[in-house]
């Protein structure tokens, strides 16, 4: 006889099977010298969802998403993006894949010798090779409007606040219409109000651009606002999975530790 928990688990599995998997990670391992950062990572990102990865600093959250776009080479395991094994891709295939994936860095990583407009035009001109000035201008204006900074085009990154830099970083990533977004600590270093604004912006833009996202964070407020599903990382592996409310009620000590934050 099936218990309620079994039924719920079955329903979840069925729901997962119904969804299209965008990123599939199996038994991912990564070490730096003798420091084994990722011990056995298994993860699925489904189309259209916002997946939050919660974990303490130094647990290898950022390493995981850097392995997805091959900014770091994995030691072993399997990473499939859109059904293709990332490790087996040629340079040309990897470039095509990277165009389909947006990556927002913790520091926003704006090119500081260029104005905001040049930053936004860079991927259009150098990656998509667009030549039509009218289209480039339209895309720049649209994306600036989307992130709520329509008048920032001629400013230099050094003239922007932390929150504005994150918004422009987000705009530069979204301007090429990626299908998947990887956010590396999008609210780190921001005050509570700006942090919430950025989290709400992530949700708004996810709906507008129809992206699937992995959001790496240790900020509970960001996780609550942005997540459809959360996985918790501890000691180089994932220890729990569920919605924010499910995990908040968890009896597991390691999971509870995250939700005890003030």
């Amino acid at each position: 006889m099936e218990t309620g928990t079994d039924t719920k688990a079955k329903e979840k599995k069925q729901a997962a099977n119904d969804k299209e998997t965008v990123i599939e990670i199996r038994h991912l391992k990564k070490s730096f010298g003798s420091n084994e950062v990722l011990k056995d990572i298994n993860l699925d990102l489904y189309k259209g969802e916002n997946l939050v990865v919660l974990g303490k600093s130094g647990e290898g959250k950022s390493v995981t998403i850097k392995c997805i776009v091959r900014l770091l080479e994995k030691d072993s395991g399997e990473i499939k993006v859109f059904g293709e094994e990332v490790g087996a891709m040629s340079d040309a295939e990897l470039k095509k894949l990277r165009i389909r994936i947006g990556f927002l860095f913790q520091s926003a990583a704006l090119y500081d010798s260029m104005t905001v407009r040049d930053n936004l035009e860079f991927p259009l001109r150098k990656v998509l090779k667009l030549k039509d000035e009218a289209e480039i201008n339209k895309r720049v204006e649209d994306v600036l409007e989307s992130v709520g900074l329509p008048d920032a085009a001629d400013k230099l990154p050094s003239d922007l606040s932390g929150g504005m830099r994150k918004r422009i970083g987000l705009a530069r990533t979204l301007i090429v219409n990626p299908e998947v977004m990887l956010y590396d600590e999008p609210t780190t270093g921001l005050d509570t109000i700006t942090s919430e604004e950025i989290s709400e912006l992530i949700v708004k833009l996810q709906k507008k651009y129809q992206t699937s996202s992995i959001i790496i964070t240790h900020d509970l407020s960001c996780a609550k606002i942005t997540s459809d599903r959360i996985v918790i990382m501890n000691d180089g592996a994932y220890i729990a999975e569920g919605t924010f409310d499910e995990l908040k009620e968890s009896k597991d000590e390691n999971v509870c530790a995250f939700f005890k934050q003030p």
Partner: protein, 258 residues
């Protein structure tokens, strides 16, 4: 002692391997499509045009000082008429290219090392790579080619200005007409002097650009590494210039003057 020697040897070999691999990436990316000519022109402007003042002043002073230092000695032998020839030959063959390359190593290699190093620290290079752009082609290839093109031109300019400095120096205590000074200078210089010197400065330019880019692109994380990248770029580029010069002089002696 033995462990320390092994560690140093391994580090040296690793560095040689990394530099070779970086050079291979540079050459491979020259011939790839999508080369950014606009960025190359911008780098030529930054590296070439913005160094004109420093290189020009260095050239003038080089000729001026060389003349003033050699004039009294040559006077003792009654050979002061040889000053223009001596200045021309020594500046064009050796001192001009080497001094200008060392000056440029200090200005350009350090600037490239610090710029790319800070881009690495602030994840700008990773952002460029992950966006699908070819960071090596955009950042490295353009800078190395710009250095390779601009340093020889700057050297020629400095050589010419050194002769102006020499003329001024010769007239501090004497009275030599410009026509006579330049006639004597140019009579001493042959194509066999100019060509090896020009080729040498192309290699100097390549070394300055390559070392600056390598040190900056491969710097570690942390703000300290930006300083380390800039500093080691200057030291390594200067060392490379001296080594290339030693090889070039040997080759020139064998090929041109025998």
């Amino acid at each position: 002692m033995s462990e320390s020697y092994t560690a140093s040897r391994n580090k040296f070999l690793e560095e040689v391997g990394n530099q070779t691999s970086f050079m291979f990436r540079f050459f491979r990316n020259i011939f790839r499509g999508g080369f950014d000519w606009g960025e190359l022109v911008r780098q030529c402007y930054i590296i070439g045009y913005k160094s004109i003042g420093l290189v020009g002043i260095t050239g003038v002073i080089l000729g001026f000082v060389l003349t003033l230092q050699s004039l009294p000695t040559l006077k003792d032998f009654g050979a002061e008429s040889y000053v223009p020839r001596m200045v021309a030959v020594s500046v064009v063959r050796e001192i001009g290219p080497v001094i200008i390359a060392l000056i440029c190593a200090g200005k350009i290699a350090s600037s490239i090392g610090a710029e790319l190093g800070s881009m690495k620290v602030t994840e700008q290079i990773e952002a460029m790579e992950v966006s699908g752009a070819n960071a090596i082609q955009y950042l490295v290839v353009t800078r190395i080619i710009a250095c390779t093109l601009m340093i020889p031109i700057l050297t020629l300019m400095a050589d010419a200005l050194a002769l102006v400095g020499g003329y001024v120096g010769n007239n501090v205590g004497g009275d030599v007409s410009a026509v006579l000074f330049y006639n004597k200078s140019f009579s001493a210089i042959d194509f066999v002097d100019l060509i090896p010197s020009f080729i040498k400065s192309i290699f100097f330019g390549f070394a300055i650009g390559f070392v600056g880019c390598y040190k900056g692109y491969n710097s570690d994380r942390g703000t300290e590494s930006v300083g380390v990248a800039a500093n080691s770029a200057v030291v390594s580029a200067s060392l490379w210039i001296i080594v290339i010069d030693a090889i070039a002089v040997q080759l020139t002696s064998v090929l041109a003057y025998n």
